[in-house]
């Protein structure tokens, strides 16, 4: 008994000692809730970056990095705030990777992170509202804002010589945010949006919605919905009534199910979704496979990059205090400097220690713009012969 007590006291002392020269990062994603299937690969990605840095022993003279997980639930703001409070007050984290969904991210940021002066890097919150939120320079994201997708979609459509479109969106935050940002970008580029109208998911019949879209007219129909929900119903009804035969599909619609449903009926339609063919993505897939999880899972790459950016900024600032390193995140993410791929975090830390610049590319080809959000890389697709083919990357 005495020995056991001694041993446990010794361990306690040792762990306290270890605490002093280690960095703790919080990973707050929705382990339960609507995106629970994505969360494990996101957390694994972030923790893989931490393990890589710990192993290299190059962070601020050999500090180790530990991860503390917390559940954001994706939808329950109260639970997410409580979890974030715990990370900061009880676990004493030095930075937060997260949160995931736009709603909880907003509430954690304004109610917990900003008051406590904590840095947050979200891998997956895409709401345009987060671009203009009051964040005291503490909030960054490795995911692009949906406003960016609106801009990219405008370019894709304009490049095909179409200047008049109608827009229908699924009636939720995602659909409305995307439709609004697209309509604004498209009109700014000199195009005409004949009608922006919502559709409800889960209806049996969309002929009335398509009727008013057809009446408004346009050369193509932008369907900002979900392929497993009302989006397909709209397309079906528009094809049946001959209202539109060219469609533009944003990320919620691009999937195998689309061509399974419609085959070559939608030939000549096109769209875009986040995606990159960068070298880093390939390397990351290999690393994830070796670590035993799926690196192609959405936002897993962005999570790795979010954790990596925090640690690189700490090295650049020479401090683990959020107030010190927050300002360095943009520096390490962007040019000029030595390009850094996933798996090269150890070398990046060395370069920074030697006072050199780095340009972190990472798994998702990171390029931070504006208020610290990813510029985003998109894969432009077109439908030919009933198949989705890659037109180019933007």
């Amino acid at each position: 008994m005495k020995k056991l007590l001694l041993a446990s006291t010794a361990t306690a002392v040792m762990s306290t000692a270890a605490y002093a020269d280690s960095v703790t990062l919080g990973v707050i994603v929705g382990f339960t809730g609507p995106i629970e299937s994505l969360a494990p690969a996101m957390a694994d990605g972030a923790e893989m970056a931490m393990a890589e840095v710990t192993e290299s022993g190059n962070l601020l003279d050999g500090m180790s990095v530990t991860s503390v997980r917390a559940d954001s639930t994706c939808i329950d703001s109260a639970a997410a705030q409580a979890a974030a409070e715990r990370l900061i007050t009880a676990d004493g984290v030095d930075g937060i990777v997260g949160a995931d969904c736009s709603g909880v991210t907003t509430s954690i940021l304004s109610n917990v992170a900003v008051p406590n002066g904590m840095v947050m890097v979200s891998p997956s919150a895409t709401s345009p509202a987060l671009s203009s939120i009051e964040d005291s320079g503490l909030f960054f994201r490795t995911a692009p804002s949906d406003a960016r997708q609106g801009q990219v979609m405008t370019d894709v459509i304009m490049d095909r010589g179409i200047s008049e479109v109608a827009v229908t969106y699924t009636n939720n935050d995602y659909g409305q945010g995307l439709a609004d940002s697209f309509a604004a970008a498209f009109e700014a580029a000199g195009g005409t949006v004949t009608l922006v109208s919502a559709h409800e998911d889960g209806r049996a019949d969309y002929s009335a919605e398509v009727g008013s879209l057809a009446s408004a007219g346009g050369d193509a129909l932008v369907v900002a919905g979900y392929v497993d929900q009302g989006g397909s119903g709209i397309v079906q009804s528009a094809l049946d009534s001959g209202a539109f035969d060219t469609f533009v599909f944003p990320d919620g619609m691009v999937s195998q199910a689309l061509t399974d449903n419609f085959g070559s009926d939608i030939d000549g339609s096109f769209g875009q979704h986040p995606g990159t063919d960068s070298e880093g993505a390939e390397i990351y897939h290999g690393m994830a496979e070796a670590a035993g999880f799926d690196g192609t899972s959405p936002f897993s790459k962005e999570s790795y990059d979010a954790a990596a950016l925090i640690m690189l900024a700490m090295q650049a600032a020479g401090s683990t205090a959020p107030a010190d390193y927050a300002a360095h995140i943009m520096d390490v993410a962007n040019a000029p400097g030595e390009p850094i791929q996933p798996g090269e975090l150890g070398r990046a830390l060395e370069l920074l220690a030697a006072g050199e610049d780095i340009d972190y590319q990472g798994a998702s080809a990171v390029e931070l713009i504006g208020p610290g959000e990813s510029a985003g890389n998109y894969r432009e697709i077109s439908i030919e012969g009933g198949e989705i083919v890659t037109a180019r990357y933007r």
Binding site: A204, D205, A214, G242
Partner: protein, 336 residues
């Protein structure tokens, strides 16, 4: 030419869809009105009865498709329909034996029946979701179009296309046949006459030797046939999803009440009134007007009275207006 284009647009987006939808509502409302007329209560389980019938038909259709049976250009579901009707008939008679007969023996008030039917609705709801799941099911096969928008444009050289789907054609034809059969049965056969007698005056009918249990049995069987047919046609034309059948309850009741509850002709009229107003009120008329109006009168707006989100509100509004001014419905029904 412009006039033809306007007419085709109107046909394509208003008249054809509204006629098909009206026929589906009319078949549903006929079932509701028969139960109200003969059994004297509002059957809230009607939407889910339709879902049950459609579900059985879909399962049999899948079986037939698996066995390689098909009707050529027509959907296989038509072949499976009789099985669906039989299964729904058994379910309804079983429900009557287990639930409604008890209240009939007690001479319960109509409101008690209504609440009992609410319970039956939830049970049927559960059965359907349990067996086939909550998702969309596709079971339509055969030719999709009688005439597609593209062929119509090529044929006529008009700017506007006209699409007429097989399912819409079948809906209209089947609805006409079903209504004709129903009226022949009610007006020409002995059982039909005894049902009408029972509906008009229960005591007098009993005194003249009509067997009430027999009347009830036939009513449920006819209701099963109407509900299953309506459910399958709706599923073929739109899509099968248990929740949408539950939502159909509102326009169906609106149709039956607007037409005059207990009056079969009224139910048909009510179905079309509701369908046409739902669609015309939420349709944007800009395209049609732009063909007809002279250059300087071209409209800027969509010319849409209500956004399509308010579709269900239209049934409610018509229901309220009719009940305020003609409590017994457009055709004379029983007042409620």
């Amino acid at each position: 030419m412009d006039f033809l284009n306007a007419l085709v647009t109107l046909l394509n987006f208003v008249i054809i869809p509204a006629t098909a939808y009206g026929a589906q509502l009319a078949l549903g409302a006929l079932g509701v009105t028969l139960i109200y007329g003969i059994l004297r209560f509002s059957n809230f389980a009607h939407g889910d009865t339709m879902a049950f019938g459609a579900m059985v038909t879909i399962l049999v259709t899948w079986f037939l498709q698996g066995a390689g049976v098909s009707l050529g250009p027509l959907p296989t579901a038509l072949l499976a329909l009789p099985v669906g009707i039989a299964a729904t008939g058994l379910l309804l008679i079983g429900t009557d034996r287990a639930v409604y007969r008890f209240y009939r023996a007690q001479k319960a008030k109509p409101v008690i029946y209504v609440i009992a039917s609410l319970g039956v609705m939830f049970i049927m709801n559960g059965i359907v979701r349990f067996i086939i799941g909550v998702d969309d099911q596709r079971f339509a096969d055969g030719e999709r179009f009688i005439i597609s928008a593209r062929t119509f444009r090529e044929m006529t050289g008009l700017e506007e296309g006209l699409a007429f789907r097989t399912s819409q054609g079948i809906t209209i034809v089947v609805a006409i046949i079903a209504v004709a059969l129903l009226f022949w049965f009610l007006n020409r056969t002995r059982t039909g006459k005894s049902m009408r007698a029972f509906s008009d005056n229960e005591d007098l009918a009993l005194l003249s030797g009509i067997n009430p249990e027999r009347v009830v049995l036939y009513t449920w069987l006819i209701v099963a046939a109407l509900a299953t047919t309506a459910g399958v046609l709706y599923g073929l034309d739109k899509s099968f999803k248990p929740f949408t059948y539950f939502q159909l309850l509102l326009p169906i009741f609106a149709s039956a009440i607007v037409g005059g509850l207990g009056n079969p002709l009224g139910a048909i009229l009510g179905g079309f009134v509701i369908a046409f107003s739902e669609i015309t009120v939420t349709y944007a008329f800009r395209r049609v007007v732009s063909y007809l109006a002279p250059e300087s009168w071209q409209p800027d707006g969509l010319l849409q009275l209500l956004s399509t989100d308010y579709k269900f509100a239209v049934s409610f509004a018509i229901l309220l207006i009719v009940l305020l001014f003609r409590p017994t419905g457009i055709m004379k029904g029983k007042s409620i």
